[in-house]
Each structure stands twice: as structure tokens, then as C-alpha cells.
């Protein structure tokens, strides 16, 4: 009955497969969907979503501020506590040599960078997984979620830098005149961090148990990165490979030279770090964009 009626209607409208005619077993292969990335379009879309990035970061910041009595103080307390421990262990016990620079200042500078990285990595990795039900309903460029977590970490970093300013006062020294070198190093730091966050965020969606790796990476990373010690502690012949894998090593070392010692960052190391972080960023972005098409299928 229904079938008969359907057929008549279909003929009238001239659309839709009549139920009598079987649908082909599969789609023609030339129609299979392929993700094409047009860099200009991607950039335009991301730019259009800048308010969303801000709104998401604002959500996290406001929520944190409301939940916690101490609010933004946490942004400072964690690195300060670590800094105190490092000063006790590495400075007093292991006797790390930092020259004329106070060790506390030396370690705190590294901790700001590390804290920024580990915040972005940990929050960014879960940024898609925590919003899956949203991703299933609302369209927006997906990369805004890890980007928003990096923005939150940036706010924390700015607060941390404020405390660094206070430390300069306490130790009665000033940033060295070479401090403008900080700017290119910041770009490397952001590029690498975002690349890692992109890779991990999409990995956690597809492979849920990756999230259990995060604490391990965080725990090991703080010691595997020259946060508590100078880059020179890593054997000379391995340094280039090391910086290639972990550009943060060169970034932290560069900050110390520029801000504390009054030297330009090592050009070779900085270039390796820049190249490496670019590979992480572009590779991570491509991976992210390729896998993003399937997020709603596995959510």
C-alpha cells in the first residue's frame, strides 16, 4: 500500500529512488569524500572563530575563578611551589651551577615555560574529548578547542611573568638588555605547544587510553626538559638531537641567556628548535584536520 503510493508520488516529483528500483550496492568510487584543505579557507575560518576562542577561554577562566577560593592565585602557586622544591633539591643538594644568576630566578624562568606547556598539553589533550557532545551538535573549526586552552595557559603565563617581575625586584637585578630575543623564542614556544596539543587532542578522541599517558609525560617532562638545570648538562654531541625532539630545551635556554645572562640565544640551537616546532605544528595540524572529519562518527 505504502509502496504503491510512494511510486506514484515519485513519478510526479521526478526525484528520489522509487522503492521498486534497488539502490546501488555502493557509491561510485569517484564520489568518495576526500578531505581537501585550502589553507586560505582554513585560515579565514579560524579568524572568523576568534570570538569563540575568546569565549571558550573566558568560560574556563571564569569557571576556575568561581570554583576556587584562591582563583588566579593557583596560576602562581604551582610554579612557586615547584620552584621552592627545585631550589632545595637542585641548588642545595645537587649543586647546579648557575653563575652569577640566583638559582631561584633561573629555575622559575624555566618553570614558567614548562607550566605553560604542561597546562596546554593536559587541558588541550582533553579539550575535544570533554566537549564531544557539543562537537556532535555544533559546527565550528575544531582546532579552536585546543587553541582556547592555550589561551588560558597564556593568561596563567602572563600572571607568572608578573611574579617574575617581582622576583627581579627581590633579587635586585634587572632583565638583561638582550630581552627582545624573547619574542622569536615565544613564537617557537607557542608553535611547538600548539602542535603537541593538536596531536594529543585528536589522539585522545580516537584512542581513549592515551589520556593515561598524560601524567607520565608531565612527570617525566619536567625533568627531561632543562627546567631545573641548564641545557649544558646534556652531553654536547646529543644537544642538537635533543633540541630537535624537544624544542622547549632551546627555548628555555634562550630565555635565560636573553633575560638573565645578557647573551643572544645560540643561533644554531634556536634554528633547530624553530624548524622542529614548525614540523610539529604543521604535522599536527594536518593530522588534526584529517582526523577531525571522523570525530562525530566515533563520539
Amino acid at each position: 500500500m505504502g509502496g504503491q503510493r510512494a511510486q506514484v508520488i515519485d513519478e510526479q516529483r521526478g526525484q528520489a529512488a522509487p522503492p521498486g528500483v534497488p539502490v546501488p550496492a555502493g557509491p561510485p568510487p569517484e564520489l568518495v569524500f576526500k578531505r581537501r584543505l585550502r589553507p586560505l579557507q582554513v585560515a579565514r575560518e579560524l579568524w572568523a572563530a576568534r570570538e569563540l576562542v575568546r569565549a571558550l577561554a573566558e568560560r574556563d577562566l571564569r569557571a576556575r575563578y568561581k570554583q576556587a577560593v584562591l582563583g588566579f592565585a593557583w596560576a602562581v602557586l604551582t610554579p612557586l611551589a615547584l620552584c621552592a622544591i627545585f631550589t632545595l633539591v637542585f641548588h642545595r643538594a645537587v649543586k647546579i651551577e648557575t653563575g652569577a644568576v640566583p638559582y631561584t630566578l633561573f629555575a622559575y624562568l624555566g618553570l614558567i615555560v614548562w607550566q605553560f606547556f604542561s597546562n596546554t598539553m593536559n587541558q588541550g589533550a582533553l579539550s575535544l574529548a570533554n566537549n564531544l557532545s557539543l562537537l556532535n551538535k555544533v559546527y565550528c573549526p575544531r582546532e579552536v578547542f585546543p587553541l582556547a586552552t592555550m589561551l588560558v595557559a597564556t593568561v596563567d603565563m602572563v600572571i607568572g611573568v608578573g611574579v617574575l617581575g617581582l622576583m627581579f625586584l627581590v633579587f635586585w637585578t634587572a632583565p638583561a638588555a638582550t630581552f627582545l630575543w624573547v619574542l622569536p623564542l615565544l613564537v617557537i614556544q607557542f608553535a611547538f605547544t600548539y602542535g603537541i596539543a593538536l596531536i594529543l587532542s585528536v589522539a585522545v578522541v580516537y584512542l581513549r587510553d592515551v589520556r593515561h599517558l598524560l601524567p607520565i609525560i608531565t612527570q617525566m617532562g619536567v625533568f627531561a626538559t632543562p627546567v631545573a638545570y641548564p641545557l649544558a648538562k646534556i652531553p654536547q654531541r646529543l644537544q642538537e638531537i635533543y633540541v630537535g625532539v624537544n624544542p622547549l630545551g632551546a627555548v628555555i635556554e634562550g630565555y635565560r641567556k636573553a633575560l638573565l645572562y645578557g647573551d643572544a640565544p645560540d643561533a644554531r640551537m634556536t634554528l633547530i628548535a624553530a624548524a622542529s616546532s614548525l614540523v610539529f605544528l604543521i604535522g599536527g595540524y594536518l593530522l588534526f584536520k584529517k582526523l577531525e572529519t571522523g570525530i562525530a562518527d566515533v563520539a
Binding site: 572563530a49 569557571a63 566515533v298
Partner: protein
């Protein structure tokens, strides 16, 4: 191919979508196992088509209802139109700004206030901050939040949370509005508000695609119906024809499921008019329903009769106590004035035992068959107003 279609056009060409049918968990070790299997040449993949060869062309300003049973692919298609999901093959082209009228409680942050969440939603839906600010009062009014707007959302009732999420989406001004099953939540007043809002939007020339199991609601909004069945378009026609076809198919399925082994069976039924041989029924005239029941059961029972329009709009139910004596039993019910307007109706029946001796079903509730009624058409309600039950009420107007 890439003609310049005006904003509000929706086009799908040979769209296919498949999902994994095999058990697949999202863990790293499963992927390792899978890779090992693949090395041995066993792909071990099993796919199920969710949508097959969907071709639709929707003009700006059309209102289309997507209907079909669970798992027919409605929501999948809608997700692909929203661009949340990507097709396996084919072309999907939606022109203009897309608004999805969806329940986005998922995005609500419980620690933020209603006001803060509204701005967040706005951003999620692609609105600029000042655009949200411009509509802020309308949104609050629509969601009936009033004084609660600066309270943290975790102190809202679930109804308030739902309305909050919905209200922002309702005040988008999209070229294409996609609506998925929003009416399942919220009270009757809010449902009517949603329908009213959809009507307003439709009248401004927005294209609407509406997915719902609430068929009367779909009928009240949409002019065109697309009936999906097992991932293919079964019917694409005017909403009445599409709904009629869909309802017929549900009925056919429910009749097909036989009730074997029950103590009582419906042997025969007849619905007739005033004279014994007059099988045409007329509005506001006498009707007799005669049933013959058979079976071994002895004792008292309650016979229930029901009438629905299609299968989803129940109209009335009546019941009667009968005494079964172990043989065939004939029972007739006379309705002196049939309160049904013109249309096709389904007769439902079931018999249940009285008391606790047998406790339960003697003949389960099922549709016995259909009958047509001749008479005046029901007056059409305004758009976006659902007429749940078609009942003919004798009336006179005076000016």
C-alpha cells in the same frame, strides 16, 4: 555543477554514509591488535550503511519534515547538513548561514551564570558578541528566565537549563534552520513557543528541515515530507502524502506481528453505518462496531476499543465488561453520533482479565484494521499549531 544557488538552498547528491558495525573500542591496544590482524591480511572490518544514495534538492524557504523509524538515518543526515559529520561519499551543499535548533545543554557550564552561558552559546553558534547583546532581551524572554539570569546555571531546574540552551539557537537568523527532536523536552507551553518560533522563521523565508517523531508537529510546520527508510529516501512528497505512506507502513508492521498463543482471538470485526449492510460511515451519524471473539477463556474480562488517526494520534477509547463462556462471543457497540471528521482511522482492540485470577492480557492491544469516514473536513489550524486529535464537534457560528 557548481551553479550559484541562492542562500537557503540545500543540495545533496548521491550521499552515502557508513558506520562501523563491528565491535570496536577506542583504545590503543585495540588498534594494535587491529594492525596485527591487518598484517595477516584479515581486515576484519564490517561496515553498515546508514545512508545510501540520498539525493535531495531543497529550495530556499521550503519547510521539509524528515520522518522515518528509529535508525532510518534522519539524524545522520541532519548531522551532515550541520557539517558536524562528513559523508563517506557524495556532495553536500548547504548555502548560507546554517542554524541548528538543538538542545545544547551539553555546552552549558554549571558554574557560569545564565548571562555568561548565553554569550558562550552565541559564540558557539557563530554569533558575534554584539549580535548576542542586541537580542539578549528576546532570548531571556523566550527562555522565561527572568530574574534567574545572573544566577549560576547549576542552580537552574533542568527545564530552565534546556530552555536556556534552546533560546539562543532560536534567535539565530539563519538561512537554513535544522531542527532535531527538540520538542521531546520541555512542557507544552514551551513546545508551543518553539513551534511558534519555527513558524515565524519559516515565514521570513528561512529553509527549515525538521526531524521529529512527533508527526502532528511535523505536519503543522512542514509542507514537504521526506520519508527515510533504512537509509534511503522512500517517499519525497507533500507532507500529507509522505506522512500517510509512513503511517500505513507502521500499521502494516504492527498488524504483521501476530499474536499467537493468546487465550482470546479476534475472529471478525465490522464497522458499519445505520443499516446492517451500509459500510460507509458518515460524520455525526450512527455507527456500529461489531466484534466476534473466540477462545478457551471462561470468565469476566474487559474489552477495550480505541480509535486513532494513523497510529500516532489516539482519539478516544471505550471499554465494556464481557463474560466469556469458552466459545465464540459476539459483542456490538453502538455510537449514536460518530465524532470523527473525514479521514482514515484505525480501530484498536484488546481484552484484559478482571481480578487477579489470571492477571493480565487475554488479547493484547493491537490494531484490528482501518475504516474510512466521509463527511466534512476538519478546519485547518493556523501553521505551527498542532491538532493532536481530530474530533468533529457539531457547532454553529454567530456574528
Amino acid at each position: 555543477m557548481s551553479r550559484d544557488y541562492p542562500a537557503g538552498t540545500i543540495r545533496t547528491e548521491q550521499v552515502w554514509k557508513r558506520f562501523r558495525a563491528d565491535q570496536q573500542r577506542m583504545l590503543l591496544r585495540d588498534r594494535v591488535e587491529q594492525a596485527a590482524r591487518r598484517l595477516r591480511g584479515d581486515r576484519g572490518e564490517d561496515w553498515r550503511w546508514a545512508l545510501r544514495d540520498i539525493n535531495l534538492h531543497i529550495e530556499p524557504g521550503e519547510s521539509v519534515g524528515l520522518i522515518g523509524s528509529n535508525g532510518s538515518g534522519k539524524s545522520t543526515l541532519l548531522k551532515m547538513l550541520t557539517r558536524v559529520m562528513y559523508p563517506y561519499a557524495g556532495v553536500i551543499d548547504v548555502r548560507g548561514r546554517i542554524g541548528a535548533l538543538i538542545e545544547i545543554r551539553a555546552g552549558i557550564h554549571p558554574d557560569l551564570t545564565g548571562r555568561e552561558n548565553i554569550y558562550l552559546f552565541g559564540a558557539l553558534l557563530g554569533l558575534k558578541r554584539r549580535e548576542v547583546a542586541g537580542r539578549f532581551d528576546d532570548i531571556v524572554e523566550f527562555a522565561r528566565l527572568g530574574g534567574a539570569i545572573d544566577r549560576q546555571v547549576k542552580f537552574y531546574s533542568s527545564g530552565m537549563q534546556m530552555r536556556l540552551g534552546f533560546a539562543v539557537a532560536a534567535y539565530l537568523e539563519p538561512h537554513v534552520l535544522l531542527v532535531d527532536e527538540v520538542l521531546a523536552v520541555g512542557d507544552a507551553v514551551f513546545q508551543q513557543r518553539c513551534l511558534d518560533r519555527m513558524r515565524e522563521v519559516a515565514e521570513q523565508g528561512t529553509t527549515i528541515v525538521f526531524v521529529s517523531h512527533d508527526l502532528p508537529a511535523v505536519q503543522s510546520i512542514c509542507r514537504r515530507g521526506v520519508w527515510l527508510e533504512q537509509g534511503t529516501v522512500r517517499v519525497d512528497a507533500g507532507i500529507k502524502d509522505a506522512l500517510a505512506g509512513y503511517r500505513d507502513s507502521i500499521e502494516a508492521q504492527s498488524e504483521a506481528s501476530a499474536r499467537v498463543g493468546e487465550p482470546l482471538q479476534l475472529l471478525k470485526y465490522e464497522v458499519r453505518g445505520e443499516d446492517a449492510d451500509d459500510t460507509t460511515l458518515h460524520t455525526d451519524e450512527p455507527v456500529t462496531v461489531e466484534l466476534t471473539l473466540g477462545g478457551d477463556y471462561r470468565g469476566d474480562a474487559t474489552l477495550h476499543l480505541g480509535v486513532s488517526e494513523g497510529t500516532s494520534s489516539p482519539i478516544f477509547q471505550i471499554s465494556h465488561e464481557i463474560r466469556m463462556t469458552g466459545g465464540d462471543h459476539r459483542v456490538a457497540c453502538v455510537i449514536p453520533r460518530l465524532p470523527l471528521p473525514r479521514g482514515r482511522y484505525t480501530l484498536w482492540t484488546g481484552v484484559y482479565s478482571i481480578g487477579k485470577t489470571d492477571g493480565g492480557t487475554l488479547m493484547s492491544w493491537h490494531s484490528a484494521g482501518q475504516f474510512d469516514v466521509f463527511g466534512p473536513m476538519l478546519d485547518t489550524p493556523p501553521r505551527a499549531v498542532v491538532m493532536a486529535a481530530p474530533v468533529f464537534v457539531p457547532h454553529q457560528w454567530e456574528d
